[in-house]
């Protein structure tokens, strides 16, 4: 067996083992290698995730940005083996090496029993919609107890105490233990989801579009709280969202996904200051900013390609303002950005650099292009 999940102490809010975030040279907690996932459909295979590599270091927050259908959820759910048919993992490995496991384990090759021991105990997920992910007929305490009993061996009264202290952790009064989901506000439900994810003191917390259904004020409170808890408890976060503006503020590193492939990875600073890939540049120019001078917003015209018949070369080519014929033959490998001081800043576009000026607008205005030709 590759994991000994039941032997480590379980600090509730203790900061005894908070590690430094992502010390260089240290093994990543989660190393996704060459992961490919297809959806088998009558109309042919849909390449949802295509040979993706991504590392998550201890204590790190990685933001996975991409529009719907880009494969970001499929990538992460695939890595955790949470997908079912017609999804099929066709290649790759996902190496997990947390503090509690003695030797790294490949999630994709574990037996169902071994996987069951790792899931939630080591890698927990805050699911997309807090409104629907909670069981409406169980009160908060029973849902928390469910998680605790399923994944930890613990006497009943101790488990109850733990459920209560988990609510403390996320700032919900203990009186709410007996509340049912419909009696809670959206923000509270989201907090309960986070408490459930943290119930087993996991190493990796995956957050799938967590706060999008919430108000900005509540959303910000919850995000600040998550970051605080992360620093306190020392887990790593893989944050999935389509909102790049949020990631720039929140994440240590950002991976930009499009059509099942990663197009660019870099620190938030690098992405903000010198995004290299045309798609990232487009994303950065898509959201209205509240602060600073009003700038001209362009957005990205068109829509993502049909993954059943992916175009040759770069999948972004049909929407790319820099595109040339050479892009049809480009090999989608992530290479260091030539002008960047950070060798970890990688891009899939060998032609465009952060400083490359956009080509003179010879073609139609972006906003009139619409979704034609789809």
């Amino acid at each position: 067996m590759s994991a000994h999940p039941d032997q480590a102490p379980l600090p509730v809010a203790a900061s005894s083992q908070a590690p430094g975030p992502g010390a260089p040279g240290q093994d990543p907690v989660l190393a996704i290698r060459d992961l490919s996932v297809v959806y088998r459909t009558p109309g042919g295979d849909v390449r949802a995730v295509d040979q993706v590599n991504l590392d998550l270091a201890a204590g790190e927050v990685i933001g996975l940005a991409g529009e719907s259908g880009s494969g970001k959820s499929t990538l992460v759910y695939g890595a955790c083996r949470l997908l079912r048919a017609p999804a099929l993992i066709t290649s790759g490995s996902v190496r997990y090496s947390g503090r509690r496991v003695t030797k790294p384990a490949d999630l994709l090759r574990l037996s169902p029993d071994e996987l069951q021991r790792l899931r939630w105990r080591e890698i927990a997920i805050v699911f997309q919609s807090a409104m629907n992910a909670l069981n409406p007929v169980l009160n908060v305490r029973d849902q928390l107890l469910d998680v605790i009993h399923a994944h930890l061996r613990m006497p009943r009264d101790q488990a109850r105490e733990r459920a209560a202290s988990l609510l403390d952790l996320v700032g919900i009064p203990r009186a709410r233990l007996r509340s049912y989901p419909h009696e809670l506000s959206g923000g509270m439900r989201q907090r309960v989801m986070i408490a459930m994810a943290l119930a087993t003191d996991p190493e990796v917390v995956i957050m799938d579009e967590p706060p999008t259904a919430l108000d900005v004020v509540v959303q910000r409170d919850i995000l600040a709280q998550i970051v605080e808890l992360k620093d306190e408890l020392g887990f790593s976060i893989l944050f999935i969202t389509h909102d790049l503006s949020l990631l720039l503020e929140l994440a240590d590193r950002i991976a930009v996904m499009y059509s099942g492939q990663l197009l660019e990875i870099g620190t938030a600073e690098e992405i903000h200051r010198e995004a290299a890939h045309p798609y990232t540049k487009g994303l950065l120019n898509s959201f209205p900013s509240l602060r600073g001078p009003r700038r001209e917003l362009a957005g990205i015209a068109g829509s993502p390609p049909d993954l059943r018949r992916p175009p040759p070369g770069c999948p972004f080519l049909p929407r790319c303002e820099y595109g040339t014929a050479a892009c049809e033959a480009v090999d989608m490998h992530l290479l260091p950005v030539a002008t960047s001081k950070d060798p970890e800043h990688v891009t899939a576009c060998p032609f465009v650099l952060p400083q490359t000026p956009p080509p003179v607008a010879a073609d139609a205005q972006p906003e009139t292009a619409g979704e034609a030709g789809s």
Partner: protein, 365 residues
Amino acid sequence: MSGQAATLTSAAAARGPLAMEAVSVSKDFKIGHGQTLHAVRDVSFNLYRGAVVALVGESGSGKSTAARLLAGQERLTSGEIKLDGKPVQVRHRSDFRRYKGQVQYVFQDPFASLNPVHTVRYHLQRPVRLHQGQDANVDTEVVALMEQVRLTPAKHFLAKYPHELSGGQRQRVSFARALAARPSVLLADEPVSMLDVSIRLEMLSLLDDLRRRFSLAMLYITHDIASARYFADEVLVMYAGEIVERGPAEEVTQQPAHPYTQLLVASAPDPDNLGSALRGAGRRGGGRGGNGRRPGSPAAQSQPNVTAAGCPFHSRCPLADGRCRLQDPALLPITATRGAACWHLDVAAPELASGLPGGGRTTTN
């Protein structure tokens, strides 16, 4: 209060003639146990042809109820709605249909607002027949509508069902459906919030284009104050059923006066803030304890006060005092186009309040 608010000139007024007025509109809901929820309280604003007024607020602030009142989908508890200067009276179904011909509503969720068993053609033919009569050239009209919302080539999409369309395409169908009635007023309830960030901008610029082309008076409801900055002429900030601040979009977003607007602006993601408190709060903060909360946002009890007296924001407001708990401040003008409802404007926004003729509103009325 409404009298005071009426002295304000809407920042949207310059764009075109007055289309629709909400005059001291209120809506109460009975919520059982003898309690009443004041979903919309004494709200007044105007919509002008060719202009966008944004109604910004969190969920539960009453912004959607306000729009539903304008759309004739809810009965007013008090107040009046006027269309082209005439009071709106929807008594019969035929009144309602005529009204719908002028005032159209776009729903938030394009996944729920289209009927899954009908094609795009059906969704668009029906309103064309209803509002333009049986003798209208329905097919030509439908194609024209699809071209207006840039759902092209129209032929390609006519026979499609909603599930075959992307979120953006579905919302285009919703826009086209609303335009089929040839309305003068378009009420857009969070029209882009269910869409991807990369598509939102395109959809907003489409709406903007339609506004210009058909000189639509538009109410844009959103919780994203940043999009209101770019898209709207006037911003109304709503909290617990009341308009707590209003004014030109740029001014309200860049120099918010009301403490709630300030909180809203401070909470919006700020991509330029790379030293954000969100990133590694504990790592850099140093002095802050593990359970430190930001001031002004007692997170867990963020339920606004919609039943009791006093300023609706007082339980979350850092400036609240005894008066705020007892008396609800009226929306008073700061400049000719701007107003805010706060007893402590002189503290909340001293640079704005000092510009007032009375040197700030420190006196009770």
